[in-house]
Amino acid sequence: MADQVPLSMTVNGRTRRGMGEPRLTLADFLREQALCTGVHLGCEHGVCGSCTVLMDGEAVRSCLLFAVQAEGADITTVEGLAPDDETLHPVQEAFRDCHGLQCGFCTPGFVVSVAAFLEANPDPSDDEIRHGIAGNLCRCTGYQGIVAATRQAAAVLKGEGQ
């Protein structure tokens, strides 16, 4: 077993330090040491998208990164999207309004992915939305609610209200 190495990164605006073997994944660091348990681990090989976080603003699979690779990086998990504890991010609000979830397991990954997707494509067509969410798997909703939520969030973020 390899020696433990020090780890340090910004998670949701706060500096987080920890220790781990070089093979510790970013997902496990975020869950177990930064206590961001909104980072869900479904498949642990990059397919399901539940562990998606933003690293320096870009949506990435935290299960496919080692924590040491995020040294000095700025990480945002689902917990860090909303401005404060009382408010939901427009994407979260939309998932609630449009029944974009049932069991909720995949939801954090979807919310983070959709937030990043809308940042890059503020005015997507339905077809673009379907491609945009293709990297996240949901086994309950049948996706219709998620597509509707993405559409609503796009409108809100553009300032069109609902």
């Binding site: 070089p22 870009e58 990435v60 990043a116 293709a134 990297g135």
Partner: protein, 281 residues
């Protein structure tokens, strides 16, 4: 980079370079492979970036697929790379996955290897004893095996631009958006000033143990007037150039039939660009 090649020289088979990790980390997570040493390339600045080069482009190995997708020089000079990139996985995968990793991993269903083969791209490979260039035709040796030895590093890929009227198209068949393709192809067709085809490049993915060229299709196109070529008839010839296997996703026969129909459609779209261009010009 000197440090990387010396680490690879020191540890040989026990070390593995880590690029975007979008293929290597799943293999490690599933315990399909293990290495004593992982050499992370993500902070080696020289391995990133696209540069215009002799009328073509040089793309350093660690350039993310997402960067290839949006690079203006790539779109202008190597349109096939630009067209193929959105078919790779999902945007979250492309934010990390690299062009060098895709090519070094050499999955036969992968997009970039087929494009590299079709366009006669070259690989720049470095080791502690120097640098060498390997053409695409000699790069892909067998499934997941390339000319890059364990003590070597893939440093960059080079592509030349086509300096003639040309049409390019890429497409693939996959069960769901972002899945690895069951079959796909990258097509470039070039003509002389009179509209006669004098260059044809067809690279196929998912229909053999390595990416394959549809040589019968290429030969059939040469010498035809672009306006007269029947893409669907010629596309059928691709079946002879394939060597597919059957698996849970599709039988060998399905891949051969759907693949050659697809090649016909892609040829049609490349030819349509040429005839439109001729019509406009």
């Amino acid at each position: 980079m000197a440090d990387v090649v010396s680490l690879l020289a020191e540890h040989g088979d026990d070390a593995k370079p880590l690029a975007g990790g979008q293929s290597l980390v799943p293999l490690l997570a599933m315990r399909l492979t293990r290495f004593e040493h992982i050499v992370d390339l993500n902070r080696v600045d020289e391995l990133f970036g696209v540069t215009a080069d002799n009328g073509g482009v040089r793309i350093a190995a660690m350039t993310r697929q997402a960067a290839v997708e949006t690079d203006a020089t790539v779109a202008d000079r190597v349109p096939l790379l630009h067209l193929a990139t959105p078919h790779i996985g999902h945007f979250q995968i492309r934010n990390r996955g690299t062009i060098g990793g895709s090519v070094a991993h050499a999955d036969p269903a992968s997009e970039y290897p087929a494009v590299m083969l079709a366009l006669d791209g070259t690989a720049e490979i470095a080791s502690a004893s120097g640098t060498r260039e390997v053409p695409a035709a000699e790069f892909f040796e067998s499934t997941f095996m390339t000319a890059v030895a364990p003590d070597e590093l893939l440093v960059a890929l080079r592509f030349s631009a086509w300096d003639q009227p040309a049409g390019f198209a890429f497409d693939e068949i996959a069960r769901r958006s972002g899945d690895f393709a069951l079959a796909g192809a990258a097509v470039g067709i070039g003509t002389d000033a009179a509209g006669r085809i004098n260059r044809a490049a067809v690279g196929m993915l998912g229909v053999g143990p390595i990416p394959l060229r549809a040589s019968s299709v290429e030969a059939a196109l040469i010498g035809l007037a672009a306006a007269d070529a029947d893409p669907h008839e010629i596309g059928r010839l691709a079946a002879d150039d394939m060597d597919p296997i059957g698996d849970v996703h599709a039988s060998a026969d399905y891949r051969r039939r759907a693949g050659s129909t697809l090649v016909g459609r892609i040829l049609a779209s490349a030819l349509a660009q040429l005839t439109q261009e001729a019509g406009n010009g």
